[in-house]
């Protein structure tokens, strides 16, 4: 599904990612953890194709294609989905309008016809249940006046509708109370499938109690310094990131 090889990326001449290696196979759930400033958000932005980053070395293969050669919308159309840490508000554009435009963009790439209004509405309604959202959210402006929890649920709603091959969840747990966290996690768990990969980026171990990953990686100073299973996350919770940093201090730069 996704293979990241020796990825180096800079912003404004400052190197943030300093040689990332990561392989994600279909059906796997990976958690990438790390302290603030480790490069977690940079990694998700670079994978999703946000402008402003310079790739200085390395490559990323996604579904046998050179991911970095594709525009952001082309990556999305090919099934790469980013659940944003801070979903943006788009005033006046109804949520349902964006959902429909997004779904039809993906369908067009797949050579499918646009869904008509009725079929689309039926589909959306079934997805709304997954994240326990009221139908009135469809007609509100995109994220306009949504609470933090509503914004994150709206991201998962979009994910459920677009059925991506690779979903990157960027700090999806931040700003969620315990009830919202449970709803979002249940939604994500329901979307786990053998042909879908999920990469969760998070600062805290808490999320991993709800969405149990197959692999956990620790990102520090732009590199993955330690990988393991879910026990690694528990270890981190106990000992803090400094433990990893000390342990990896001997690694070659």
């Amino acid at each position: 599904m996704l293979e990241i090889k020796n990825l180096h990326a800079s912003i404004d001449g400052k190197e943030i990612l300093r040689g990332i290696n990561l392989t994600v196979n279909a059906g796997e759930v990976h958690a990438i953890m790390g302290p603030n400033g480790a490069g977690k958000s940079t990694l998700s932005n670079v994978l999703a194709g946000r402008d402003g980053y310079e790739i200085t070395q390395g490559e990323v293969i996604y579904k046998n294609e050179d991911l970095l050669a594709l525009a952001a919308e082309e990556r999305a159309q090919r099934g790469l989905f980013l659940a944003f840490q801070y979903p943006v508000e788009i005033p006046g554009v109804s949520n349902v309008y964006l959902l429909k435009a997004a779904l039809n963009a993906v369908r067009e790439y797949q050579g499918l016809d646009e869904l008509d209004a009725m079929d689309f509405l039926t589909l959306v309604r079934s997805k709304l249940e997954l994240v326990q959202m009221d139908e009135k959210f469809l007609n509100r402006g995109v994220n306009e006046g949504f609470s933090g929890g509503e914004k994150k649920r709206n991201e998962i709603l979009q994910m459920a509708l677009l059925e991506p091959s690779l979903a990157i969840l960027d700090e999806t747990d931040s700003g969620l109370d315990i009830d919202a966290l449970r709803i979002v996690s249940d939604g994500v768990n329901a979307l786990r499938s053998p042909d879908r990969s999920i990469v969760m980026i998070t600062h805290y171990q808490r999320l991993l109690d709800y969405i149990v990953p197959d692999f956990v990686h620790v990102l520090s100073d732009g590199r993955i310094v330690k990988s393991g299973d879910k026990e690694l996350a528990k270890e981190l919770e106990k000992s803090g990131y400094s433990w990893v940093n000390e342990e990896s201090a001997g690694l070659p730069a």
């Binding site: 402008d51 919308e73 006046g92 997004a102």
Partner: protein, 486 residues
Amino acid sequence: MVTLMSEQAQQIEDFVPNEYAAGFVTDIESESLPPGLDEGVIREISRIKDEPEFMLEWRLQAYRHWLTLETPEWAHVQYPPIDYQALSYYSAPKQKTDGPKSLDEVDPELLKTYEKLGVPLEERARLAGVAVDAVFDSVSVANTFQDKLAEEGIIFMPFSKALKAHPELIKKYLGTVVSYRDNFYAALNSAVFSDGSFIYIPKGVRCPMELSTYFRINAANTGQFERTLIIADDDSYVSYLEGCTAPMRDENQLHAAVVELVIMDRAQIKYSTVQNWYPGDENGVGGIFNFVTKRAACRGESSKVSWTQVETGSAITWKYPSVILQGDNSIGEFYSVAVTNNLQQADTGTKMIHLGKNTSSTIISKGIAAGRSQNSYRGLVRVGPNAENARNYTECDSLLMGDKCGAHTFPYIEVKNPTAQVEHEASTSKISEDQLFYCKQRGLDVEDAVSMIVNGFCKQVIRELPMEFAVEAQNLLGLSLEGSVG
């Protein structure tokens, strides 16, 4: 006064020229007066149109007054002085008879032009429920559905025709809302206006269809000076649509129209405009100078007028559809979207003059500036000493695309009655990279994303337009901004 310049990232400033889809010239013989303006030209226009004497006298008074006026220079627009002697003040397609009696008599070339513009003539119009009074340069060439309207007692005809058929109505109302003394361009229009629309809705009649005029400037070096007069008598209602396009030409063309609306007791006029005059090319060559005076007089109690405009075209727009709220409980509304790209300049807004008691007005203005354009909102809210409990709500929002354009707001508020409530809100924003990236990450390309975000920004205005016009306006917004984000 607020002046704001954008600080947009380099990414959002890559400009490519737009295709102007309506930029074709119709090859048709036309009769024009040679360039120049003097009393002889005005007499000639009046003679060609076989006008009643009072009309000629009025034109001449307006002309003599115009000679004493100076070009207004207070607007936030810049252009070289116009040589009024270099313009021709009359142009009409050549015709065999006085005027066409039916569509069959209309030159097929003309009909093709309208077809290209998507004007619904013939059966399409009937199906769409639109009656069209199409103004081609100066003379109305096709006027549909008069019979059906006549059954209701509604008068909808070219202005010049109405001068002959209903001179008493014109004499009674012409110039009573916009005097020829009002301003430079209104005086010029009054002297040389060629044609336009006249509408009278009798007492108690709700006009069964939307009335529409499609203006189009065709001949080169011709000024178009329409004159529109709409009278809604007691308890009547009419919705009027006005669409404008003009061919691409390297020279600037002048368009100085006057629109007067008179609204009696409990009557209502809804006036919608989609203005897509040629805006000039990406270097600012050519394009229409759109200097228009539009005003409504809510004379009756509980009368109401709504101006809705979507302005995407013209090199320069100078336009302030206004409302004089004379009748008690009368209501004035102004909903506006003004888009400027490349080197376009727009200075547009409204005046709400509260005279009667319990009068209320709403102003919603959305300005979108891209390229190196300048986009200004200029509005006046005046509450007179007798306007007890007058209310106004004003909202002016500007959206900037790129960092070479400008958005400006010039609100003027004059309140002479202590019971008035006047609210003003203003905002300036830009299409952020975050919004664009969000849309792209959901699979939308840049053009679709911009179009979606802009339409969302304009939603409050677009939803005031009649359905078929709203669709056209939405498409136009996308087209006008095509290529404005790299």
